[in-house]
Amino acid sequence: MSESDVTRGGLEGARPGREAVTGAHAGRRRRRRRDRRGEQPVVPEAHFSSYYGRPVLKAPPWRALDIAGYLFLGGLAGASSLLAAGGQVTGRPGLARVAKLGAAGAITVSLGALVHDLGRPARFVNMLRVVKPTSPMNIGSWLLAGYAPLTVAAAAADVTGRLRVMGAGATAVAAVLGPAVATYTAVLLSDTAVPSWHEGYRELPFVFAGSGAAAAAGLALACAPPAQTEPARRMAVLGAVTELGAFRLMKRRMGLVAEPFEQGRPHRLLRGAELLTTAGAALAACADAVGRAGVGRRLGRVPAAVAGAALLTGSAALRFGVFHAGVASAQDPAYTVVPQRERLRARSG
């Protein structure tokens, strides 16, 4: 605030000292800062008042690695449970095992990250003190409390070969809960005052569903025997289409608050996610076609592994991009004040 920086463009953030003019910094209508490198704005530049340019809202105090990481791993686990059940039912034991281990591993790491992000980790059990449908975090905690042990039981039964009936039951119930685990995280983000998260509440669950499907398919492609991964390849394509389509729709409907997705680090992450997911899905589709023609066997697992890695990285990049865009939208008062002003103006006629 009081510090100034010497940059190539001259002195930045310097205060005028004795030459200060009354009210030059406060309560006046000001042009919004804009990142010139980003894409062209969706909405013309708005003039608005703010309190010394300070944010109206508080950004979430969460660590990106913990929470964006959880968004990714939760999606990976949830969609993997679908592949696990499908693989088990259709006689693809290799696919089922990878998916079961993936779901159990991802959700276990997720729980660690979630507890680690708490201000008082020792009190994590307080999450289950009440049942509160108005709190997506509370519902999510209950969901995970049911889902995580099931995935671990399913994976353990598969690996040890014991208690197969119980393992099959756990796999089936986990597949029912999995889609909810993969999509409720969108509500978790949207149910805040953060403009770029809240305004996307209609499409964000579909973005996360598609992204989770692409990640789970990616893991299966990379690790499961290629002969059994046909469902994963189809899932990769469908997931990528859902994710990218829903994301485009979301940005178009959001108006001004879509801007944080188009600027700076979130923009780079989301652009990378788009490219990786598209490339991974395309590669998976090609492998699918080549595999059906029966000439892909000599290529071995390399294309599938590359496609899988691209899909996994793309899904992770998407979650981090969405996370950082939300934080950026909370830190700039424009995204709070301008849409609310427009709403008031529209209401008063």
């Binding site: 605030m1 009081s2 205060r15 009210g23 910094h25 406060a26 309560g27 703010s50 309190y51 010394y52 300070r54 109206v56 508080k58 950004a59 979430p60 105090p61 969460w62 949830g78 679908l82 592949l83 259709t90 992000d117 708490l118 201000g119 008082r120 980790p121 009190r123 307080n126 009440v130 509160k132 108005t134 709190s135 997506p136 975090m137 889609p179 993969a182 999509t183 969108a186 509500v187 805040t192 005052a193 509440y201 209609r202 499409e203 669950p205 579909f206 569903a209 598609g210 989770g212 499907a213 046909e230 469902p231 994963a232 189809r234 899932m235 469908l238 859902t242 909370a330 004040v337 002003r341």
Partner: protein, 345 residues
């Protein structure tokens, strides 16, 4: 907390009320009863009349003293006298300072000291009679006796200084309370929203949920903290520390209904006096949060003070959000099944 003098309607009496329950949306007169308190006292709140705030920050100090709120760090902002910067875990009252080049309604800028000079008159006492009488011709140029120059000598209009003591709004529909996963935030019998520090596990969800950016997570402590509207003092029949300390009665505490009447009268009075900018903020039960338990009289648009112009409780859209998530979950399951459907050969 001081349990001794708490009313019988409090959590101590009878079956524990479901005080962390969310309220149905829409205007609601009796929040405490809706939250499960039987026979609650009238809803209490703050009316902060910023037109008489002098920016002394006694409220900030009194709040810290009474509630044992730690210092938030000595950071000089260089932007104004406001080094508190905003509400947060360690600032439950925050005095905003806004400088504007605009005369306050009814204020007389560039006061000309054209009246009799009492010091000169006193000095002249006992000497020659009539020597201390000032001449009316000595008034500054552009300011004939009894008139006020509209513009300061530099050609600039005069400034006005807006000061406002911000605080947790204790919303009727409180997003922080709605989203709290542990039930640490609850509705008191006074209709206020209080955070129980012995339950909070520091998930930080209330922080981005608040449409006013009030709640903060305390560094080193890990838990969220905010204004309690001095729940302990209210229970003992005292007024909150900030209201008690306010030397100009800018911060007024009382039953919300009474405060609303008082505020309406004050706005009418200011409008009559020519202060056209005066307006109430957060008093309407029809707004996006169902009305604030702590509302304000402002002299400019809310965003000038760092307040959102049209806040909406985020959980208003939550049913739609759950519906969308359920649709997406079904789509994901269908997508998974589609992967396994046997292709026709």
């Amino acid at each position: 907390m001081n349990d001794g003098e708490r009313t019988a309607a409090g959590p101590a009496g009878g079956a524990p009320p479901d005080t962390h329950r969310s309220l149905p949306h829409g205007p609601r007169a009796d929040v405490a009863r809706a939250a499960g308190h039987r026979d609650p006292p009238p809803r209490m709140g703050f009316f902060t009349d910023t037109s008489v705030c002098i920016g002394c920050k006694a409220c900030e100090v009194a709040c810290k003293e009474w509630n044992g709120v730690p210092e938030h760090g000595l950071e000089l902002t260089g932007m104004s006298y406001d080094n508190t910067q905003g509400l947060g875990a360690n600032s439950w009252r925050h005095v905003a300072f806004v400088e504007q080049r605009k005369p306050l309604g009814g204020q007389e800028p560039g006061v000309a000291h054209a009246g009799p000079d009492v010091f000169e008159a006193a000095r002249a006492l006992g000497t020659s009679p009539g020597a201390g009488t000032p001449a009316p011709e000595t008034a500054p140029a552009g300011a004939p006796a009894g008139e006020i120059p509209p513009v300061a000598p530099g050609g600039r209009t005069e400034l006005r200084w807006l000061m406002s003591s911000d605080v947790c709004k204790h919303c009727t529909q409180a997003a922080c309370l709605d989203v709290c996963p542990t039930g640490a935030l609850f509705r008191t019998e006074f209709g206020t929203v209080v955070l129980q520090e012995d339950v909070c596990n520091g998930c930080g969800y209330c922080v981005p949920a608040c449409p006013y950016g009030v709640v903060g997570r305390r560094e080193g402590d890990g838990r969220a903290w905010k204004c309690t509207l001095c729940y302990d003092r209210l229970g003992a029949g005292l007024e909150p520390a900030c209201a008690k300390a306010c030397p100009t009665d800018s911060i007024q505490f009382g039953p919300l209904e009474e405060l609303r009447e008082r505020a309406a009268a004050r706005v009418a009075q200011l409008h009559a006096a020519g202060v056209r900018d005066a307006r109430l903020y957060g008093e309407s039960p029809e707004d996006g949060v169902g009305g604030d338990g702590a509302f304000f009289l402002l002299l400019d648009e809310p965003e000038v003070y760092g307040l959102p112009p049209d806040p909406v409780v985020t959980t208003r859209d939550l049913p739609a959000m759950w519906k969308q998530a359920a649709l997406a979950a079904v789509s994901l399951a269908a997508l998974g099944v589609a992967g396994f459907v046997r292709r026709p050969r």
